[in-house]
Each structure stands twice: as structure tokens, then as C-alpha cells.
């Protein structure tokens, strides 16, 4: 797999086109809406997180940007939906996941994202070799982190 193909895996291009969680849900009782921007390239995202008790009940978003930023947001939603089920994932687990994701992406290819933990998002492993793109992949995750702080 060439560098470019490992960066843009089929799965990534699919998510960029069929974006999970795209379109903001009505705000719930304990929700926060966060706007994040990558000032370098203009990518932006508005993400809304709904917390119920100690669980993340829903995450939806809107935004525009490169395929990495769009698919990463989509994959994040997919991961939360699949792993969290109807109840939602515990907030603490989500926070741990974000921290792990960040660490891997900043590792310059040294720490891969494992599929068991990250599901489709594991396809973003290749991004960590492209330092200029790490911010793109992190955009939604940083927005969620910020949202959890506020919700």
C-alpha cells in the first residue's frame, strides 16, 4: 500500500461521502454545542453532544473540510454508536478513547490504532505519519472533548 493509499483508505473515502451523525440533533437537557476550526486550512465543525448521567447519549455534527476531517468525525460517531449501544458509552471511557486517539495520531506512525478499540476509525492510523494532517483528523475529537467539558 503506497503512503497515499494508506492515508486515504477506501473506508475513509466512504465515510467522507456518507457521513454518520451529520446534521445537528435538537439539543437535549444536558447538551453542549462546540465550534472548532483549523485556522490553517479552514476546516470547521460544529458538534453537539448530549450527556445523560455519566453517559454520552448522542453526538451529531455539521461542518466542511477535507476528507480526513469529515471521515474522522463520521467514524467517531460510528464508534460511539456501535460501542455505546442504546445507553451510550460512559463519559470516562469516551475521554480515555480521545486521549488514546490523540496519542496515536501524534506518534508519527509509531502507535497504530487497533481495530478492536477504534473500529472504522482505526483506518486513520496512516494519518499519524502526515503531521500536517493530524489536526484534520483530530478536529471532531477535540470538539467532543471540549463539549464534554461544557456539558
Amino acid at each position: 500500500m503506497s503512503g497515499l493509499e494508506s492515508l486515504y483508505q477506501e473506508l475513509i473515502l466512504d465515510h467522507a461521502k456518507n457521513r454518520r451523525g451529520f446534521g445537528l440533533a435538537e439539543p437535549g437537557a444536558h447538551s453542549a454545542t462546540v465550534h472548532q476550526r483549523n485556522p490553517i486550512c479552514g476546516d470547521e465543525i460544529t458538534l453537539r453532544v448530549d450527556v445523560e448521567g455519566d453517559r454520552v447519549a448522542s453526538v451529531t455534527w455539521e461542518g466542511a473540510g477535507c476528507s480526513i476531517s469529515q471521515s474522522s468525525a463520521s467514524m467517531l460517531v460510528a464508534l460511539l454508536q456501535e460501542d455505546g449501544g442504546v445507553e451510550g458509552m460512559p463519559t470516562a471511557d469516551v475521554e480515555a478513547l480521545i486521549a488514546q486517539f490523540r496519542e496515536a495520531l501524534r506518534s508519527r506512525g509509531k502507535i497504530p490504532l487497533d481495530e478492536e478499540t477504534f473500529a472504522d476509525a482505526a483506518a486513520l492510523s496512516g494519518v499519524s505519519k502526515y503531521t500536517a494532517r493530524v489536526k484534520c483528523a483530530m478536529l471532531a475529537w477535540v470538539a467532543l472533548e471540549e463539549g464534554l467539558r461544557q456539558a
Binding site: S2, G3, L4, C41, E44, A64, I68, R133
Partner: protein, 420 residues
């Protein structure tokens, strides 16, 4: 001695052009952001630092005298390059610093008031926009904008209406760093002069590609950056007519720009020193002069013709690729070999990444011109910009890579994708 123009000989002067990216030769099409530096420039700076380096304009020692001479000779050389007198050339750390100096100094001088107007264009680089916004906010002046037409040229009818008796400053780019179009300097100067407004020319993108004659241009002030003219980072110049520079107070203050200083008050030297506070970028001035001299060794008319041919090839090639939208695609204006474009269905960032995998380095994003991108309904574009060392084969490599973008990202006729 002027050499006939030979692009291969030119290329041999740039060590970085031997770089490979992922096993492919580097095709550097990002000279609009920063140019590469020929060996002569690197050598001149190093030679200065190894043999003559010391503080200038100070001290009686031999090194200081040598350094001072080289530094002031550099001013003469760079001034000549843009058709100016050395006393009219102020060293700055770059074009942005020069524009801030002008706007800041006008502010400190109280030259703008409530009701006064500053006119810029919709095609401004942020460096020639935000300092004026800040000046307007601080003084109560109003900032107005000459719109850009669909083909990328300035709306000169609107300009004629906008520039009126309240106008104090008209600031505009010689060449837009997104559109590559040469703006009608003489016409804008005529409008500004008609109402007694000061003209400020952003010559960042013209200085590397066109023969400048600032004295003859009619503008009052102009700025450019060394690092875009095959010279070093950290240096640029502000040029101004004698009487205009004399009318401006210093923007920054400190050593080497004063005559008498007491604890409470300082008196300032005349221009250009008045604007050069603190230790100057001495080795960079010497290297900047070397860049200009290096350029001067070539047949520049032939070099400009070469770049014009690249421009044609690049633009026509892009036009012929499906799903490409050019920003400022017109034949009705002079241009430099710089072209921004959007690829339908693929974000600029992804286009840049794809081109990089082919060794082609372009710039993606808003190129410090958000308002202009907004005017075209975009947040980002891809920009390819050539230089004196660019070859037709490189342009072809670039075009070939662009042709492959939509296929790779699975968009194309009938395929819906993320919006560019």
C-alpha cells in the same frame, strides 16, 4: 554579463531542486508562498558571516567598516532593482512589517480621522487588509473595498465611485497572490492622485516576476519581501517617495535611528534610518542584494517570457481538465505564472496531498485571502505558482497529477461528493 536564459543552468543554481519526495523529483510550485534560494545567495550570506560580520554604523574597527559598506551597498543594489534611490529604501523584516509600519505611522501621526476613508481591494492578502482594519478601528476612519469581478479583475467602475474626496489612502496589490492578475496600477494611481490620497502598493507577488520601476509607477509607497525574490527570510523593504517618508513619524523606536536622546525625549534621524530601529538584518540585506544580483545576471526579458509561457501552459492545461474551476481566469489582463483553482468534489487539502504524492508541492488553503475566497464561494483553494526555475515538463507533471485527482477520490461525472 548577461547570460542567455537557460532554465537548466538556472536550476543547477538551486540545491533544493535536487530533492526527491517519496522517490519522485520535487516539483516546487509554491514559490508564491516562499521562493527557493540559489547557491549565490547562500554563499553571499555565509561569506559575510565568516569574513566581515560585525555591527554596522558603529565603531571604528576594520570589520565594522567592512560590514557597514556591504550593508549599505546592499541597499543601493536592492533600490536599483526596484527603480528607487537608496535613501528611499527602508529595510523591514518583510512586507507585512512594512505595511504595518505605514498604517501604524499614519495612525501615530494622526493623519486619519473619523469620516476619512481608506480604500483597499477585495483581493487583498491579509497583510494589506488587517493593518488597515485596525487603523480604521482606532481612528474612526471607514474601510472600503474595490470589488473583484467574476473574472478576477478589479471593478474599476466601482473604484472610480469609491475613491472620492474623503479617501486618504488607496492600498492595493500589484499582483494578487491568488489570482495572479496584474492590477492596473496607473489607473488606480490616477484616481487616488485626483483626490490627493496616498497610494500603497503591495509588490510582494510582482517583485519576483516583473521589472519594477517604483519611481516611475506613480505610487507613493511600496513593500516587498526578500524571501519571495530568491532572497532570505527576515528581510524586506518599504519604499517611499522622499517627501512621503519625511512626513511619517517612526513606527518602532530604539537604537541607531536617533540623533540625541535624553531620559525624556528622543530626536530622530531622517529616512531611511528613522524607520530602522535596532540591529538590522545585516547578513540578510547582503544576501538579498546577492539574490538581486543573481537575477540580474540573467536575461530577464527572456526569463519573463519563459514565465509567461509557463503561465499559459498551466492555465490552458487546467482549463482542459474536467471539474476544475479556475479563480480569476481571464485573458484580458497581464498575469504572472500563479494560478489558484478548486477541484469539484475534492477538498483542496486532499488535492494537495495527492499532488504531494506525485512530488508536486502546491499550496492549499485560503492563502491569507479569506475575503477573496468567500467572494468566490470557497473556503479554500489549491494554488500552483511557478518561478524562474520552473520547467514546462514540471508544469506537465503537475497537470498530469491534477488530472488524476478526481479519479483517486472517486468523484467525477455523476458522482456526488463532499463540496470543494
Amino acid at each position: 554579463m548577461t547570460l542567455p536564459f537557460d532554465v537548466d543552468a538556472v536550476r543547477a543554481d538551486f540545491p533544493i531542486l535536487e530533492t526527491e519526495v517519496d522517490g519522485r523529483p520535487l516539483v516546487y510550485l509554491d514559490s508564491g508562498a516562499t521562493s527557493q534560494k540559489p547557491r549565490a545567495v547562500l554563499d553571499a550570506e555565509r561569506d559575510f558571516l565568516e569574513h566581515a560580520n560585525s555591527a554596522v554604523h558603529r565603531g571604528a574597527h576594520t570589520l565594522a567598516a567592512e560590514a557597514t559598506e556591504l550593508f549599505e551597498d546592499a541597499r543601493v543594489t536592492v533600490a536599483e532593482f526596484v527603480g528607487a534611490e537608496p535613501e528611499q529604501l527602508v529595510w523591514t523584516s518583510g512586507a507585512t512589517a512594512g505595511l504595518n509600519l505605514v498604517a501604524g505611522s499614519l495612525g501615530y501621526a494622526g493623519r486619519l480621522r473619523e469620516g476619512d476613508e481608506i480604500v483597499v481591494t477585495e483581493a487583498e492578502h491579509h497583510a494589506n487588509l488587517i493593518p488597515w482594519q485596525e487603523l480604521a478601528a482606532r481612528t474612526g476612519a471607514r474601510l472600503r473595498h474595490i470589488p473583484v469581478l467574476d473574472d478576477g479583475t478589479l471593478d474599476m467602475h466601482a473604484a472610480a465611485d469609491l475613491i472620492g474626496e474623503r479617501t486618504r489612502v488607496v492600498a492595493f496589490p500589484h499582483v494578487s497572490n491568488v489570482l495572479g492578475i496584474v492590477n492596473p496600477v496607473a489607473k488606480l494611481v490616477t484616481l487616488a492622485r485626483g483626490v490627493g490620497a496616498l497610494t500603497v502598493l503591495d509588490a510582494c507577488q510582482s517583485a519576483p516576476h516583473l521589472a519594477l520601476d517604483l519611481s516611475a509607477s506613480g505610487v507613493d509607497l511600496a513593500v516587498f519581501s526578500g524571501h519571495k525574490v530568491y532572497g532570505p527570510y527576515g528581510i524586506g523593504a518599504l519604499w517611499g517617495r522622499d517627501e512621503v517618508l519625511e512626513s511619517l513619524p517612526p513606527f518602532t523606536t530604539g537604537g541607531s535611528m536617533i540623533t540625541t536622546v535624553t531620559l525624556d525625549k528622543a530626536e530622530y534621524l531622517p529616512a531611511p534610518q528613522r524607520f530602522e530601529a535596532g540591529t538590522q538584518p545585516v547578513s540578510q540585506a547582503v544576501a538579498f542584494a546577492a539574490a538581486v544580483r543573481w537575477l540580474g545576471e540573467h536575461d530577464l526579458a527572456a526569463a519573463h517570457a519563459h514565465e509567461a509561457a509557463l503561465e499559459q501552459r498551466m492555465r490552458e492545461g487546467l482549463r482542459s481538465i474536467a471539474g476544475i474551476r479556475l479563480l480569476g481566469d481571464t485573458d484580458a489582463a497581464d498575469r504572472v505564472a500563479l494560478q489558484a483553482f478548486a477541484v469539484e468534489g475534492v477538498h483542496a487539502h486532499d488535492v494537495g496531498q495527492f499532488l504531494d504524492s506525485r512530488g508536486v508541492a502546491v499550496r492549499v488553503g485560503h492563502h491569507c485571502a479569506q475575503p477573496l475566497h468567500r467572494r468566490f464561494g470557497l473556503t479554500a483553494s489549491v494554488r500552483a505558482s511557478a518561478a524562474i526555475h520552473t520547467t514546462e515538463a514540471e508544469v506537465d507533471t503537475f497537470l498530469d497529477a491534477v488530472s488524476g485527482v478526481r479519479g483517486f477520490f472517486g468523484v467525477g461525472a455523476g458522482t456526488a461528493g463532499a463540496r470543494a
